[in-house]
Structures are given as C-alpha cells and as structure tokens.
C-alpha cells in the first residue's frame, strides 16, 4: 500500500479534530433540544434561528465565569485533569476511517487520520486513558464527593472494558484484523443479492455482541443510565463538583467527544462503516450508464459513504441522548452486578458461539 503524502494526512487529522469539536459543540445543543422534545418542551430557541447560536453563548458564558480553585487542591493536577480528559477524547477519533479514498490525479487522500493496523487497540487504549482525566480531576479537587465519583468512574470503566473487549473479540475472530479500515472493507459486499449489503454488516452476525458493546459504550462514556461518576443525587456532581468555568466545560466537552467516538466506533465495527447498500451497483451504474470515469465514480461513492457514516454516527448520538432522557440511573450495586455477572458471561458465551459458527462455516 502506498502511503499518501504526509501533508495531506496532516490536513485530514486537523479536519477530524475540527469536526470532533464541532460535533461536540452541537451535541450540547442537540442534547438540550432532544431533552426538551422528549419532555414536551421547546428547548433553547432564543440565540439565533432555532437557538443555533446557543453553543456560542454557552462558550462565552463558560469562558467568562470565575476560575475557582478549592482550598487544599493540587493546583497542577487540578488543571491537568480536564486537559487529559479532553486530549484523550480527541486523540481517539484519529484512527476512525471516515471514508474510503478520494483520488485527485496522482494524490490519493485516505479519509482517516492515521492508518494503523491496530486501530481498535489504539481506540481502546485511549478510552482507558480517558478515565485518568476523571481520576486525576476527582483526586486533585480535595473533595470527598469528587473522589467518590472518580473512584466510581475508575471501577466502572475497568469493569465494563472487560465485557466490551470480550464482545469485540468475537468481531475480531470474524475479521482477523484489528485495523478499522480492514474491518470496514470486510463488511462491504459486491454480491448482487438485494439485502446482501446490510446482511454483511457485523451487527447481523453479532447481534448479541452488539448489544453488549453498546451497553458497555454507555458505561464507558459515563452516560445515563450509567452516569454514576457524576450522579447528582448522591455525589452533587461527582468528579466535577469543584470545577467551574471552562475546566468544567472541558469535562463536559470530553464526554460529548467520547460519545461521538463511541458512536463512530460502533458504526464502523457493527454497522458497516462507510459502506452503504447498493454502493457497488451505484458505482457500476455511474460508470456504465452515466459514462463517468471509474475514478470520479469512486470519489462520488466515497463522499456518499462519508455522508452515510455520519448519518449512522448521528443516529447513534441521538440514541445516546434518547436513552439518557428515558431511563433512570442504575444503583451502583446493580451496575456492578450487570457488568460482572451478566455482561461478561454473555460476552464469553458470544465468543464461544461465534467460534462454533465459524468452525462449522455458518458465518465467515
């Protein structure tokens, strides 16, 4: 495989960075509008048309708020906590393949920040590092509620990472690769059978694995019903009790970026990534019936795939918010019981099932 020039790759990384931030910004707006609609309310509609400038107003508010340092806090770590949460959240989106290749003459631009063959491990590593931001922030606050929230976050993330990893192993057994791009390509289908495209997505072969994965994704991103680290009723605000101003904003932002990344990973792993139904037919039709060059037709397919992937990601983000405003929070012992005694055995069973099906050649 010939690698595109480094400069293009840098541009792609910057674009991915900007898009992640933009999506996180508008996730705050979307969350409030969706929450309002689910509760028969109106939601923010004052700042700009339909309240679309609300995130800007929020940012101005957060930046102009007082920066508060609690007495006895470790100042360096107190600042470092939200930074780490933000950095790790942003870094994990780098390996997600947002699209196939765009070909302009000699240059081929891969719509992916970094192409590494252990992409999935990289995402997992970054997500695991993300909990350090919460841990450090909670510990440095010198507040028992913050510390409790941080400890909860740590044990929750460790517990659910196991089930998540085990659910993922079943996917890896089918794909034989950790590269997200490779996993995406394997979900494409050139078969003429109409439903083949969607049936080739991993979610059709791994329904149980997908349910385990999405439940764990909720826990990993600290979203309701597993938002025990912030749990207002018990811990005031959990790890960000003592945080104010943009440091608080960074924590909230990191959560939304994590939601975006989790949605992207689920779309790539289980919902075919940038593949969409009838893509091969459409390309052939563009070439044969419309007389386009193969390169142009491929570029069109790539852009449509990009749009399709973002449609999948946005549906998942919507789902995250939909669940948040529907379900109450789990109790901590329920959370732990669900993680250790239900999800992990189920994930192991799923691995055995997948192994059996592969052995007998039912799925490949």
């Amino acid at each position: 495989m010939d690698f595109p020039p480094l400069a293009w790759q840098g541009v792609v990384v910057l674009v991915v960075f900007g898009v992640s931030l933009l999506i996180a910004t508008y996730s705050t707006y979307a969350e409030r509008v969706i929450a309002a609609f689910l509760q028969d309310r109106v939601g923010p509609d004052r700042a700009g048309p339909f309240g679309l400038l609300q995130p800007l107003a929020d940012a101005v508010k957060l930046f102009t708020k007082e920066e508060f340092f609690p007495a006895g806090a470790n100042r360096a770590l107190f600042v470092f906590g939200p930074c780490l949460a933000m950095i790790t959240a942003l870094m994990s989106s780098a390996v997600i393949p947002f699209g196939n290749v765009l070909q302009f003459g000699e240059t081929a631009i891969h719509l992916q920040g970094i192409e590494i063959n252990v992409g999935m491990l990289y995402v997992f590593g970054m997500v695991s590092l993300g909990v350090y931001g919460i841990m450090i922030g909670g510990w440095a606050s010198n507040n028992k509620f913050s510390l409790l929230g941080a400890i909860r976050a740590a044990s929750q993330n460790i517990s659910y990472e196991i089930a998540m990893g085990l659910a993922l192993i079943a996917v890896l057994m089918m794909s034989g690769s950790l590269s997200l791009r490779e996993i995406t390509f394997q979900q494409a289908s050139d078969a003429p059978f109409v439903w083949q495209d969607i049936f080739n997505w991993n979610v059709m072969k791994q329904p149980l694995g997908f349910i385990i994965f999405i439940v764990c994704a909720f826990a990993e991103t600290n979203r309701t019903p597993f938002d025990l680290p912030e749990c207002e009723t018990e811990l005031i605000g959990g790890y960000h009790t003592e945080y104010s101003s943009m440091k608080m904003g960074l924590y909230l932002f990191a959560e939304y970026i994590n939601v975006f990344v989790a949605s992207a990973v689920m779309s790539v792993l289980y919902f075919g990534g940038f593949n969409f139904p009838f893509q091969a037919e459409l390309r052939n039709w563009l070439v044969s019936a419309q007389g386009l060059e193969l390169v142009t037709a491929s570029n069109i397919i790539t852009i449509l795939g990009l749009v399709g992937l973002f449609a999948k990601i946005f549906s998942f983000i919507f789902f995250f918010m939909w669940v948040r405003w529907t379900l109450p929070r789990f109790r901590y012992d329920q959370l732990m019981r669900l993680g250790w005694t239900i999800l992990i055995p189920l994930a192991i069973f799923n691995i055995l099932l997948t192994g059996g099906l592969i052995t007998f050649g039912i799925i490949k």
């Binding site: 689910l38 028969d40 309310r41 109106v42 939909w322 669940v323 405003w325 379900l327």
Partner: protein, 192 residues
C-alpha cells in the same frame, strides 16, 4: 397481627421473570413512550407559553390591585365610611375621613371624603370583601393589574396617589399584565 381496618393488602414480592431481569423489554417500552412524546413535541404546537412575547391571560374574575373609582363626573366616590376597613379580614385598610370644603364639589361626590386612604398590599389577601362591603361602589379589585415586586416594605403601602383612578382613563398605569378584550371574551366563553 390482625389488621384493625382489615384493608391491609399483602404484597407478594415475586422474583423477577427473565424478561424483567434482562431489562431490555422494559427499556424498549420506555424508549417508545419517549419517542411518542418527541414526535408530539416536534409536530404539534407545544403547550409552552413563550413568556415575554406571550402571556398567560388572567381569568375574567381575577382580583388584582384595588382602584378607588370616580363617578361619571370625575368625582371620587369614596366617602370614608370605613365599611371596607371593617370588612377587611387582614386589616389592611386604614383611612382618615375629612369634611368637604366649599368649592371642592367637583372633586368629591359626598360631603365627607377620605383625606388619606391606605392599603397595605403585603397584608391584603385580595379576597374582595372590601369591594362587596362598599356602599358607594368606590373600591374595585381590578382584573388586569397585580402588585409588582418592590425592594422596600413601605413601598407596598399604597396611598391615594396610587389607588385613585386617574381622571382620564388613558393615564392608567400600564404596569402589570393587560387582558385584551378578545382574551377576556374568549375566557368568558370558555368558562360559560
């Protein structure tokens, strides 16, 4: 132990079924309910009243701030008989009566009038008994005006300067929320 009322209901705590323990059916049920609300909010007009632009209309029988009425010739109707102060359960009304001088016939309708007339709006419970007690039809509780919030307690003691109806009705204070004729009619037809 035998229950006294014999209405005690014995609850059986059954173990959860597999579907209940799996959470998922209940979760999807909940999700479908919130989704119905989502589409209802997105398609139908919401019940939210967008406050500064829209206001919730008062009931036509709403009892708001008092007004001391004038008669058709612009004279004050109040004769300081004190029946309103007697009727007031909150003891919010005080007044000082005075005798009308010569040449003041265009100001006061009767020979006796209220030199001062004060209502403490913090004591007032807006029951309307003063309005019912008044033999001269002088005190009315307006349907469209409320006592606005103020910083000092003494500002809530309304004197004649703020209670007496202005000579020309156009000068009436625009403070408070005005009920338009249309809104009032609509409410009347609704309640009828």
């Amino acid at each position: 132990m035998e229950s006294l009322s014999k209405r005690a209901k014995v609850l059986e705590k059954k173990p959860m079924t597999l579907a209940e323990r799996a959470y998922l059916p209940a979760i999807f049920q909940g999700l479908s309910i919130t989704m119905q609300h989502f589409f209802r909010a997105a398609t139908k007009k919401q019940v939210t009243i967008r406050y500064p632009e829209e206001t919730r209309p008062f009931s036509p029988v709403f009892r708001g701030l008092h007004v001391l009425k004038r008669d058709e010739k612009g004279r004050e109707r109040c004769t300081a008989c004190g029946l309103c102060a007697v009727a007031c359960p909150a003891e919010a009304i005080t007044m000082v009566a005075g005798e009308r001088k010569k040449g003041e016939e265009s100001l006061y309708r009767e020979e006796k009038y209220a030199v001062s007339y004060e209502i403490n709006m913090l004591r007032c419970i807006f029951c309307g008994l003063c309005e019912e007690a008044c033999p001269k039809a002088a005190v009315y509780l307006q349907a469209d005006k409320m006592a606005p919030p103020r910083f000092e307690r003494d500002e809530f003691i309304y004197g004649k300067d703020r209670l007496v109806e202005p000579v020309t009705p156009d000068n009436r204070s625009k403070r408070g929320i005005q009920l338009t004729a249309e809104q009032a009619d609509k409410l009347r037809t609704q309640s009828a």
